[in-house]
Amino acid sequence: MTDLTLTFERAHPLDPPEMYTRIRQQDAVHRMTYSDGHLGWLVTGYAVARAVLADPRFSNRPELTHPPLPSRMEFAQQLREQELKVPPGFFLRMDAPEHTRYRKLLTGQFTVRRMKQLEPRIHEITESCLDAMEAAGPPVDLVSAFAMPIPSLVICELLGVPYEDRAQFQEDTKILVDLDAKGQDAMDALTRISAFLYGLIQRKRAAPGDDLISGLVASGELNDEELTGVAVLLLVAGHETTANMIALGTYALLTNPGQLAAMRDDPAQVNNGVEELLRYLTIIHLGPIRTALEDVELEGRLVKKGDSVTLHLPIVNRDPARFPGGDRLDVTREATGHLAFGHGIHQCLGQQLARIEMRIAYSALLRRLPGLGLAVPPEEVPMRSDMSIYGVHRLPVTW
């Protein structure tokens, strides 16, 4: 089967489209025709996906990548046309050793210990969001009152981005991850957010603060274009993904009351529950995509040099060969080893921050509002089927 019509439409909001489960049941590595006619591959098995992500023979460079989706890849297409090479500082889409240079400048800022030092402040932010929710009274939209402000405020303070400027960069981020956005609108959003951070970098140079961007500026390792690219990446990745995990994770718990009770009644279960929610929800629709730099054999299939390989991480993370009963949410399961943060050299730089934010957010929410429930029927919650980062647009809750 090579004429796959890729779909993001879900029959059940918490499950990837069933089509991909059927594909995985047939084979972990599938031939797939890409939207530009390229005959590439789709990976649905855990072991193969992990191997591809760790294999330096697979590149992450955008100019080598074929787009798997026809209509919704206009932005990617435009990036390919306008800027054949990856923009300076966008190390997420670079290979080693170029990637290594940027990553090593940042890893010291995101260690387990450093992130742990942020815990008191994250607690404080979380509690003040809950105070405001209680003062306002139900019903409240959990996305705008809780899930979005916590990671936004944390990443702003960490990077040294003024939180007062959030309206514009949150709006631009929304456009960047909107699968239906026109290519030009996405380019404009990227230009705006880059200009904003470029300006901020100039101000940090003149008057440094005690923050990550000031530190990067002072290191003198990167020029302004590179600094801007890094800052855009950290700001966008730093709030959008975690915000959606907090909100969609809450939706998942509210629609699985037994799991919610298990996490609420045993605080020791929260760490495990976070890993399980990361695995079970894997909040992207498809991807990432890699391209073979030489011929590589995968499960007996010959992937030729130049072939693009699309990994379907939500399906991969439910592979019963690695996670038995993987279609079921079970917060008591040993879920570490999931690929929700990726694997290999590009594994999420901010994962230890995201873990702490989620642990604090879920446990405070369940502790402070034990009667938490949806304020609308579950089927009326608007899902982010139209955004590259999955989640809920709004989550009306009551307590």
Binding site: K104, G108, F110, V112, R113
Partner: protein, 63 residues
């Protein structure tokens, strides 16, 4: 059990330090793996093997 850590391969994801903080740490400057205990006691063996498996860049190994 003897553990080896390779800072050339390390990408500072922190999975080892998160999984077995008694054995692994991260340097403050670059966040790269620091081996606190190359020969940990037998009761830590399972956790160390889990950390080796979780490392995204193959920077740690056990004999």
């Amino acid at each position: 059990m003897e553990i080896k850590a390779n800072t050339q391969l390390c990408i500072g994801a922190g999975m080892c330090a998160l999984t077995v903080p008694q054995v692994f740490d991260q340097s403050d400057d670059e966040g790269l793996v620091v081996l606190l205990e190359p020969n940990p006691s037998a009761d830590l063996e399972e956790a160390v093997r889990r950390a080796v498996n979780l490392c995204p860049s193959g920077a740690i190994s056990v004999d």
